[in-house]
Amino acid sequence: MRTLSSDAGPAILTGRDLLVAGRAAPLLDIEQIEIRGGEILSVLGPNGAGKSTLLRVLAMLQTPDSGSISFLDRSGREAERLMRKRSAFVFQRPHLWAGSVRSNIELGLRLRGHASDSRRQVAEQAAAQLGIQGLLERDARALSGGEAQRVAVARAMALDPDVLFLDEPASNLDAMARTALIEDLEHVARDGRHATVLATHDRADAFSLADRVIVMRDGRVVQSGCPEDLFENPVDPFIAAVTGAELSFRASVTSSQDGLLVVYVDETELAAAGSAEPGDRVRVVYRPEDLFLSRSEIQGSPRNRFQARVTEIRPAGSLLRVRLAGAGHWVAVITRAAADELSLEVDTVIWVQVKATALHAFQV
C-alpha cells in the first residue's frame, strides 16, 4: 500500500488562480495547486489537456496571463531566481548539445560555475543512477531515443534539484524503452531528496509511480487525490474511464440511501455506488476485472448476484474477454486458467457476482 499524501512534507510550491489564455478556450485555468516536499505527483490527462503548460508555468519557464506562484515562501522575481537554482526540467524532446554525453550532463553544473573536478564526480553519479555510465564518452548525437532521455534525466538530477519536472519523458519512446525508463524513474523519484512532478497521458505510468494524481482536461483539474481515491471514487465518467472503468450501461434509480443506490436494469435490481434520486437515469460504469464468475451461486460479500449466458469468448493478450447476457450486457475479463476451471464456452450459463462499490453510477 502506498504511503498516503499526509506523509509528504509541507507545500513547497503553490500556484493560485493560474490562467493561460488560448485562442478559443483557456489553455490553463487552475484555482489552486500545490506541490509538497518529497512527493511524487502525476499530472494525467489526454493530449491538449494542459499538462505541459501547467508544468512550464509551475517551473516558471512560462509566465501565465494571470495568477501567482510561490516557491519556498518566496514570490515574484526572487521566486523565479530561486526556481532556476533549485529545480530542473526534463522536456519531452530533450535537446542534447553538441559534444559528449558527459559534457551534456555537466551542462547545468557548468552554467552554475561548479569546479571541474566536482562536476566530473557529480556527473558520474548521476549517470550511474540512470545506468548510463558506459555512455559518458559517447557523442550525444549518436544515441537512441531511450538513451537520450536518460541523459536528459541524468543532467537534471546532476543539479540535485528540490523539484524535478518531467514533461512526458517516455511519450516518444517505443514500448520497451518506455517501460525501462519508467522503472528507472521510479528509483530516481523515490530517493526521497526531491519532489517529482510527472506529466503523462499514460494512466499506467501515472498510477504506478505517484503518491498523488491530478487529472486534467481542457486546462482544468477534474479531480486530484491519491490513486486509490480516484479508483474508488471517480467524480465523473471521465475519471472513471481514466482509471480503467470504461464499460458502462444505463439504468434507472429505484431507491437511494447514503451513497448506495438500487438501480433497475433488464428486470433485475442491482446495488451500485453513487448519488442520485429515485427516478433519475444513471450511467453505471465498472471494470471488467471486477466481475467474479462461478459455476454455482456462492455466498459472499458481493451484493449483486445474477445468472448470465456466455455469448462470446475472445483472447485479450494473456487473458480472455467474456461477453455475457443477463441483467443487461456485461464484459468480464478472466485468466485462461479460470476459464478452464469453469469449463467456459459459448452458451454456458454461469453466475456473475460484482460488488456494489465496483459499480459507479453517475447521473446522466
Binding site: R56, R84, A98, L107, L111, G145, L159
Partner: protein, 535 residues
Amino acid sequence: MVEYPSFLPVSATFRRLAPLSRWVSLVAFVSLVSGCASEPAGVVYLGSTTSVYDTGLLDTLVAAFEQENPDLEVKVLAVGTGQALALGRRGDADLVLVHAPDAELEFVRAGHGRNRVTFMRNDFVIASPAEDPAAIRGISETETEPGPAAFATIASAEAPFLSRGDDSGTHKRELALWAASGASPVAPWYQEAGQGMGNTLVIASERRSYVLTDRATLTVLGDAADLEVLVQGGHLLENFYSIMMATAGRNQAGAERFWRWLLSERAQSMIASYGSDRFGAPLFSPVPFVIPDDSAAGDGSEATNPVVLAWQLLTSGDAYVIDVVLRSLAISGAALILAVLIGLPIGVGLALSRFRLRMPVVALVNTGLAFPPVVIGLVVYLLLSRSGPLGPLELLYTPGAVILAQVVLAGPYIVAVTLAALDSVSPDVRMQARGLGASQWQALLLHLREARASLVAAVAAGFGAVISEVGAVMIVGGNLAGETRVMTSAIVLETRRGNFSVAIAIGIVLLTIALAVNLLLTLLHHRGPSSPIPA
C-alpha cells in the same frame, strides 16, 4: 522512283510524297536551315576612342552610312584608344578610330594596320573648377606652349590633378605633356581615375581637380560637370583623329567601304557642322588629307599568350596586382566586420522577438537580398555626392565610400542568414537551457552556439557578395589607382586597356578567393546545425 535506304530516319509521310516534290522540299529545307545558320551579309566592327563616341558624332555618322548601305552594319566598340588598338591587332575590330599619333604609327609599322588617314581634329584643354588653386588661368596668353607650362605650374603647386590613367589617346597626350613640362606627377596630388573621359570629368568636378580633356566631351557634358576651360592653345594641345583599317580584320571589304565613306565629302561636311546647332560651334573640324593606296598588308606579329603572362605576374609577385588584391581584402574585410557588428544583433533580435510587424520586417530584409548591387551603389552615390545629404562628409571616391556601399550590400545577407540560422535550431532550445538553470543571457549564448556553423556561413556569404561586386564599387569609388581600385574594377579597367595578362592575373586571384569561400560554405553546410534525437 527514288528509294531511300530503310535505315534513314525519314518519316513515312515523306516517303509517300511524289518523288519530285520530295527533292523540292529537301532542297528548300536545306537552304532555309543554312540561311538561318549563316551571318547577315555584312558586319563591320569599329574600335574607337571614347571621346568621339561620347559626343554622339559616331552614332550620327554610322546611322547615315547604314542608311546609304543597307546591307552593312557597323558595330561601334567605344573602348578607348588602348583597347581599340588591341582589338585591331587581334582582328576583333576591322577598323580603328583613335587619336594617338605615336601609337598609330607603331601600329602600322608593325603591320597591324593600313590606310591610316588623319581626317578630323579638335583640341585638348586643361579644365578645372573655378577655384584654380595653382593660378594657371592666364597662361594661355603668355606662353606659346601653354600646356607644358600649366602642367609645370600645377606640379610645383602640388594642386590636385586627375588623370585618365587608362592608356587612352588622351592619357598618352597627358603623359607627353608631363614629359615636356619637366615635372613628374606623384601621388597624393596626382590621381588616376582609370575611366572614360565623361566619367573622369565628373570625378574631377567632384574632387575639384585639374584635368586634361578634349574640348568636345567637355562641351557635351555641359552642366553635369562643374568645370571650365582654363588653358588652351599651342601645338601640344592639338588633337588629331585618324582612321585605320586592321589587317587582321575579318571583313576587309566592308571595312574599306566604311573607310571610303568616312573620307567622302558628305561625311566630312557632317563632321564640320556637328554640334553647331546644340552648342553654338562645331565640336570637330575636318582636316585636309590625301587618300592613300596601301595595298600591302603587313603580317601581324604573334601575340604572346596572355594566360602565360598572367601566371608570370602572379608567381613573380607583381606589385600592382598585389596592391589591388590587398586593398580589396582590406576594404571588403572592413565592410564585413561592420556589417556583422550591425547585422548580427539585428538578426538575433528578429529571431528572438515576436512583435506584430515582424513578418513585414523579415520580408523587407529578404528583399534587400534581391536588390541589384548597382542600384545600391547609385543610392549611396546620391547620398554622398556634394549635393547630397552626406556631402559634407566628403566620402565620395574614397575607400570610406566603398566600405559604406559594401556594408549596405552585405548587411541584408548577414541579417537574413542569421535569422534563418537561429530559426533552424529547435525552437525551445532557450527554454530547455533555462530549465537547467541558465539565465536569459546564458540561454541566448547557448542558442547562438548551436547555430554557430550557420552563423559562420552567414559571414562567408556576406564576404562572397562584396568581394565580387563591381557596379557599386565603381560608382562610389571611382576606381582611383592606389585608393579605391579593387580587384573587380581593376579587371574592368585593364581589360579596357588591353592589358589582358594583368586582368587575367587578378581574375585568377578573385576566382580562387570565391572558390575558397564556397568551399568553406559547403563544408559548414554538411556539419549543419544540431539535429534533435531520433524519436
